[in-house]
Structure formats: C-alpha cells, structure tokens
Amino acid sequence: MYAMIMIFLPIIGGVFAYFVGQKSEKMRNILSISIAGITFLMALGMYVGLKDADSIVYVYPKLLPPFGLSFRLDWLSVVLATIGSFVWFLISIYSLEYMKSYTNLNRYYAFVLVTLGATIGTFLSGDLVTLFLFFELMSLSSFVLVIHEGTEKAMKAGNLYLIMTIAGGLALFFGIIAVYELAGTVAFSDVGILANGSTLSLLAYLAFLAGFGMKAGMFPLHVWLPEAHPVAPSPASALLSGVMLKVGAFGLLRVIFNVYNVDFIASIGWNKILLVISAITIIIGSVYAILQTDIKRRLAYSSVGQMGYILLGMALLSKQALIGDIFHVFAHAIMKSCLFLAAGALILQTGKRDIRELNGVGKKMPITMICFTMASLAMIGIPPFTGFLSKWLLGLGALEVGYPIYAILLLVSSLLNSVYYLPIIINAFFKKSTEDFSNVKEISRMMLIPIIVLAIGTVIFDLLPVNIPLELSTIVAEVLFGRGAGM
C-alpha cells in the first residue's frame, strides 16, 4: 500500500492542483511543494522497510488484469526514488519564482506532479508491464513540460521527442512480449528470469537497449535529447536531465540484472554491445558539447556524455564499476540539475543564452556562478567533488575486468569536459563583459537556496567521514550482484 500511496499521491495531487490553481495560485504552489516534499519523506521512510529484507514485493493481480500491477521495493529502486524525489522537491521550490513570467502555470504544476508520480512508479514497479505503464505515462506527461513554451521550436522538438518515445515504447513492448514468451512471466527476480541465448532472446535484449537507451540518451538514439532539453523551461530541463534520463538507465539495470541473469549476460558477452555504444556516446556527447554555443544545448550534450558514463558502468559488469555507476547516477542528478538551474538563473536575469555573450556575468551574479563553478568542477571530476569519485570507481572497474582502454577513455572525456566547462567559468569571471549588464542583479533567495543546496551536495558527501551515497551505492551493487548468492 505504501508504494501505491507514494505513486498515486502525486498523480492525483497533480490533477487536484490543476483545479485548485484555478481558484488560488498560492494554494496550488503550497500544494505542489508539499506533495513533492511528502514524496521525498516517504522515499526516506522506505529505508525502514529495507532493514530486514533486501526486497519487498507487493502484487495486485486484480488491478489491470491479466498481468496485474506489482511493486518492488529493493535497494536500487529506493535509492533512485530518494534521489529523484529530493531533486524534484528542490526544483519545485525553484520553479515558484522562476515560472512567474510564464503562462499556463496550472498545466505546468499539474504535469510536474503527474510526472513525479510516474517516475516514482517506474522506479518502484515490480514487473516489466507495470514498468512499461509508468514509463509511458512519464514520457507522455513530460512531453507537456517540453512543449510548455509553445513556440514553434518547442513544438518541433516536442514532436521529435514524442515520435522517438513512441518508437522506444514499441520496442519495449516487443521486448516484454518476447520475455513473456520465453520465460512465462514478466516479474523481476533477484537472479533474473531469463538465461536463454536464442535469437528471440537477443532480439528482446536489443529491443530493451533501444527502448530504455532512447530515454537514457544512448547513441545513436540521443538525437531528441539536445533538442528537447534546451527548449523546456529551465526547471523542467533540470528534471529531464537530472532525473528522467536516469529512468532509462534504471530500466537497463533492471533488464541486465533482474530480467536476464547477469552471469549469463557476462558469459554470452552481450554486454559488449552496450560497452562499445557507451564509449561512442561518451565521446560524441563531449565533442558535440564543445561545438555548442547555446549554454543549455551545451549542458544537454554534456548529459549525453555523462549518461555514457552510466551506461559504461553497467556494461562493464564489475562490482567496482557498478558502485561507481550508481554513485554517478546520484552525482549526475545533483550536478546536472544544479547546472541547469544556475543556467536558468543566468538566462532569466540577463536574457542571454549564448555563452559568448555571458562574459563578465560572474561579477554580477557571484553566488550563482560559484555554484555553477562547483558543479562544473564536479562534472570534470576534480577531487574532492563527487564526479571524481564515480570516475575513479568506473576507471578502477574498467581495469579490474581488463579493459584499460576504457579507463583512458574516461580521462580523455574529462579533458573534453574541461574544454567545454572551463571557458564558461573563465569568461564569466575574468573577461570584460561585452553586453550591458548594468541592471543584472543576483537572483532572489527562493531561487538561490535550491541551487546552493545542490552545489553543496556536489562536495559535502566526500568531505564527511561517512559518505552516505557511496555506502548506499555499495549496498545496491552488492544486492544486484547477488549478496545472498555468496558472491
């Protein structure tokens, strides 16, 4: 029941907020923030349930027959749900101030909440069909966030997003049918339900790669991402890049570890497909990011590259790399939402999106730019920021399974990251401004607080004696590799 409440509270709350918003804007804002906050608290509450068992499964066969709904609370889903709802909560606070200049706010808040519920639902779902349901719901409701501005550009990007989402959904659907045909069930299990090397099984695997990879921005299915993320309003792009990309990665983790048997995948070598694709994704994302001049497009391409890290981490099939992988899910969620929120603040205050026009803005908006700097340094992977730790674990994991080339690749990618992040910082702080910034002021406190919290989040966990996200990632990786199975 707990899972049901957690999922349907935001969805129903979203619908409710739409109607409340027509009466009173203030009530609607309070409602949306409090629902996001409650969801986050409930996500924290789930850890109590995991004290004794590694996974709790709820099955509701009477809902939506013949498959029924089922929910699964294990370490992976709980950790991701916590990160997601935490970032969501902060971004909701940021939205209040940022979205003031926009119209159709009732629609915006309603769909933000519906998307939150759908995202949590995806994380908590216990079988492929439930996952598919919430996945599609999330994709469709986030479409509304993408096209919020309603400009021609936004509609065009939205169309691309919608078409690719539907194509990805169809691929997933095919995969689910194939899995049902082969295994007779679609429920996740700790050791996987499929260890079958037939052509159909391979096709299903490829279909899952395409379906979830599309959402995760995997090359060559990333084309929607740099179009859709920049046109959305900044809080929405932070949500898209920070949380929703991770849903794709989460789906792939479920496929590799809970649908297929991980040892089987390792022995048959299918992970190498993902390995090569992820390497290309890392390089392509970083190189294209360098060529962008629009700050949000640059961030979006950077997301492609960073999702490449995450795909690489799961494709290596080493425990060390998997710890780094989960940790990078956390780190990237924090860093990228911080970057998008700070970029949104810059755009809001200066009206400029071009990086070359943002010279000298650091002197006018120091706090925002310092947060941006911290998150960028974390992106590049400078110790002691979080990005370094995930890069380190991924690199060691690559060496552990005998692929030193991928460790080098990570370093090359860091160099590329520095090439596209450092000029923004240098120009903002040290170059003389070419534009008229005399009226530019620091953003208001309501917007600053989420940015500052996220920026502190990029560094604080590494400086504390107990690195909580790292501990959690370690548990998740151990559970996924079969803690009970005597690994």
């Binding site: 290309i280 340094l377 080339i405 370093l411 520095s418």
Partner: protein, 738 residues
Amino acid sequence: MGSTSSLPLLMAMLPMLGSVAVHFVGQKNEKLRDFLVAAISGATFLISIALFLKVRETIVVFELPWFLKFGLRFNVDFISGLFSLIVSLVWFLASLFGFEYMAHEHSRTRFFTYFIFTLGATLGVFLSGDLFSLFMFFELMTFSAYVLVIHEEDNASLHAGDVYLYMSVFGGLCLLAVVFFLEHAAGTTEFIPLLEQIIASGFSPWLLLGFVIFGFGVKAGMIPLHIWLPKAHPVAPSPASALLSALMIKTGAYGFVRFLMTIFTPLSNEALWVYSEHFGYVFLWIGAITMFIGAIMGILNNSLKKILAYSSISQMGYILFSLGAGTFLGTRGAVGFAGAWMHMINHAFFKSFLFLLAGAVYLKTHELDLRKLGGLRNVMPWAFGFFLIAAAGITGVPGFNGYVSKILIHEAILEAYHLVGWESLLWLERIFVVTGGLTAAYITKLWVSIFLGKKGEKSLQVTTDISVAHRAVFGIYSAIILVIGVFAQKMVNSLVIPATKIYRFDVHDLEHLTHVPFWHGAELAGPVLSYVIGISALLIVSKVGSKLKIPEWLSVEYIAYWIWHRLEDLAIFGQKIYVHLMLLIRKIIYWGAKVAIEVPVKFREFGRRVVAFRIQIDFRRFKNLILSLRKFRKRFEVEEIKRKTMVARKYFSKDSLKLKVRLKARSAKDSLKELEQELIEKIEASRMQRIQKRKQQKELLKEKIDDSYWNTINISFDSLIVALVIAIALLVFLSVAL
C-alpha cells in the same frame, strides 16, 4: 614506524581555510588583510620549522582514512619536511614583497586570497603520503594558480592562462591515469618500491613512465611540454611569477624524484635495477635537451621576465639531468640525487630572488623590455648589488649557492662516465659545461642591459631606489645564498646527506659526499670556464644577434600549429568527400525518381494501347450484337462510346505525358544545379577563409621572437585539443574494433 602528528594537515589547511578569511577581511579593510596574509604565511612558516625539527629524527605520518573513500595521507620524511620549509619561507618573503608591489594593482583581495590558497595546495603536494593525495593537491594548485596567472585579465594573460590551464589539466589527467594503474596494479599508491608489482600486473613500466613524464613534465617545464611556461610566468604579477617559477614547477621535479627514486625501484629483485638504468638514461637526455634549449632561448629573448622564465626551464633541465644521472647508476647514484636535490633547493632561492628583483625594477620603470631599460646603476645601487648576488648564485660563482649544486651535478655525470664508460655520457658532460656558459651569458646580458650602459627611455623617470622593506626581504635572500655558498660542505652534510639516507644508496658514495672537493683548483676553474664561454657567446650574439634567428619551424608551437593545419586539410578533404558523396546520393535519387516517374508512364502507355485495342474489340462485338439483335437500336449510343474513346485517347496521348515528365525532370535538374552551385560556393568560401586565416597565422608566427607576439595570436587552443582528442578517440575505437 614514524610518529603521528596532525602538523602536516594543519600546515596544508591553515592557508586554505585562511584564504576564505582573507577574502572576507579584504572586502572591509586592506591593511588588516595584508596583516592577515603575512600572519598566515608566517604562521605556516613557523609550523613548518616545528615539523622540520621533528622529521630530522623520524617520519611524521598522518591519515584521514575516510576522506573521499581512499583517505588523505600525509607522510613527511626529510625531503618533504625540508622542501615544505623552503616553500613556506619563500612564500612568506614573497608575500612581504607583494604588499608594496600589489598596491597599484586591481583586484588585490582576489590576488591575495588565491595567493594564500596556492600556498596550502603547494605544501599539500610536498607533504602528501601517497600519489592520490598528491594528485588532489596538485589539481587544487593548478586551478588556484590559474587565477594568479590571469590576474591582469588582458588578452595576453588570458591566452597564456588558457594554454597553462589546458596543458595542466592534460598533465593532471595523465597523473590520474598513473593513479589508476598503480591502484589497480599494487592496491596502493604510497611512495614505496613497487616495480615488481607493476611488472607482475602486466603493465609495461615504460607505459607508466610515459604517463608519469606527461603528468609531471608539464608542471616541470620539460621540453617539449614547456610551452605554457614562457607565456604564463611573465604575465603574472611578480610575486606570483616568483612562486610559480621557483616553487610550483618544483612539484614536477618532486614527483619525478618520488617515482624514479622509490616507486620505480625494485624491492628485492636486484635484476630489475636495469629499469632504473634505462629510465635514468632517458632522463639524462631529457634534462640535457631541456637545459640547453632553455638557455639558448634565454639568450635570444629581450624581455626581462621571459629570460627568467626560459632560465627556469633551463634550470629544471639541470635538476632532471642530475636526477637522471642518479637514477642511471641505481644504488650508486647518491651524488646524482644529491646534485638534483641541492639544485632544487638553490633554484628555489635564487630564481624567486631574481623574479622579485625583476618586480622591483618593474615597479619603478613599468617596463620589461631590456632595450628600453639601462643605466639604472646610479639610481638603484641597492637593486644593482642584490642583482649581482643573485646572478652570482645562478651562474655558480664560488662562494654563492649555485656553485655547490653545480659541482655536485658535475661530479655525478663524471662518476657515471667513470663507472659505465659510455662515450655519450662524456658528450652529456660537455653539454652541461656549455649550458653553464650560456647561463652566464643570459644572466650577464640581464644585469648589463638593466644597470649598465646608457639610460634607456624608461629608466629616465626613475628617481628612487627600492624601499626599505624590499631591501630587508632581499637582504634575507642574499644571506641565504651566501651562507649556502660559503659553508658548502656543512650545508651538504646537514641538508643533503639526511635526504640521501632515505634511499638505499651505496655507503661508499655517501662517504664521498661528506668531503666533496669544493675548493679544489680544478673545480674552481669551472665557473671561470663558464664565464669565458658565456661572455664569448654573448659577444657573438650581440654581433650577429640581429641576423641570427632560430628558424620558426623549430618552435614547438609552430609544429603544433603545423599538425593542426594538416588536420584542417584533412577535415577539408573529408568535407569535400562528404559533399561529393551527398551530390552522388542526390543524383542517384534524382535518377531513381526519373525512372520511377517514367516507368509507370511507359506502363500506362502500354496499358492504354491494350485497353484501346480491347475497347475496339468489344466495340466490334457490341456492334455485331446490336446489329444482329437490335438493328433498330439508336445509332447515337454507338457514337457516344466512340466519342468517349476518342476523349480517353486524347487524354492519354503520348505527347502530353512526355511533356509532363520532361517538365518535372527539368525543374528537378535546375534545383540540383542550384544546390550544387551553392555547395561549391560554400566550400570555396570556407577554403578562402581558411587560407586567409592561415596566412595571418603564419605572419604572426614569423614575429615569434618579438616579445609582443602573444598579444596578437588568438588561435584557440582548445580547438587544437579537440582535434587531437578526436584523433585519439578514433585510434581507441579502431583498436577496440580490431
């Protein structure tokens, strides 16, 4: 082993946290800020004295195991202790110098904030107990020193800063690769002999050495990784360039010491010392090339701070050379190591001294071009005197500090020759002697053209000598230089021998170090020889100097740009292929469309004939039927059918169809031609643009020796990196795919 004490952590953290206080105080009160800066660096100096007294007996360790999962480890032995003492002393002196110097600059608070922060990071590098902690402080140092480099915020310094930053980040990542490999191979990155484990893990030590050379070589100003140094050091404010040149590049040398002397040595397998021999030989040549080219470039330049920057490269060459000699001989290399270590200490003092003096001259004249200075001897006698002491130090005049380390280095290379007997070692010794002469040449050029001769246009405005505070700072420097020079043997006994005892050197060599023939006739002749070579070189250069120009293609930058242009050519070639391919595809589509339009037409024509024929037949039958059965039927029905057939025939007539197809085809062809024309024009335009740009760049490069050339070059350096990285990435994927 060793005692635990939190002094190292305190020493690294006090300046780092103090910098935050400096930032906030600086916004309120400048006097208080200056006091705070002096207090922090002074306190750090006092702590370092306390730490040094401790490490004379034992090793000090401190560990924060939870930090970043892998732990922050400090392990302070004699080498770390002594060098961090020197770092904090020089920093303290530079900050005392800096208050007056910076008084007329902008963004003073920012400068001092990062100035103090960099102190903490640099100390952290020297105090670190493993490569991981070292790497972390190394990166912090890189980033905070960037702010010092670009302090002026003009084009020249921003360009220099870009080159510095990207090269340093590249070096840092190479270092991170080393950390990865060591952690994987040995499970630890501490500075202990690891050669056996490295070999056992399957990685080639040569590969690892390559990464180490790139990682530390960038910071150490090793040729050909030095190109950032002559750009970045001169543009920084003098106190900062003194620290960059005297201390920060030492972090590179220090890293090499840790690797060559410890990590790349075998624990028990004596046969593996052969790696040391090979590595040492490589470093001997790297050092020789670096010191020689650095000195040549020093002579050919005309900017005060640029000469000093090239001099730093050259002096780092000495250190690497001597370190190479020490590594080359393995356990017998005590003298080589001693030379490198002593020169690291000496260079820290005389180079920061020279840079601060350059700053003092700049403060009065606001000019760095030697051709516009001159004749300052009478107005600035104090500066002249101090400059002579520093010059005597760097050129190795007996009684000054440079002499001590140069004798040791000379001894080391001769010992290598005696023990191994390779002819090439003798040539290395000759390069060393000639470079000593060239050092004398550029240093003499410096003080002669600043202080002697006619008054230059910028020297006329100078009326006062350096201030009392500066005199005090320089006085301390002079005292240190003289003390080390005069009490040479005592200094070797107390500063060098404890350091050599850390490593497993032969006892015989250590004993040799206790009585180095410093005041022997043959050794005393060395400096005389240097000066003879130097003065004659200077005379030659001054006679033919204007004609003598290094061919531009020799400069590293030129080569880099050359490669960049070739890559560009490749890209243009690729673009051409792409466009032609696209045109071909369009042509294919066009032909396909033509066929697709024409084939149905032909079919339709054929079908029309068949239909017409059949209609005729049917018509005949019909007619017969009508005629036979209903002769009285109206004739006009038949006529009607006939007319309809005629209309159909006209509509489907061959000519009208052909015309339609032709019209469609023509419009398609026209648009294709337009497209083709447009694309060709585009390519042509971009080619012309590139040719234009390249011409400009060539002209700019021709002015290489001219001091102001970096003001004008604005080829973006990051695009170069991008091209290289793409090339690397392609290689990676090829290797994966094959």
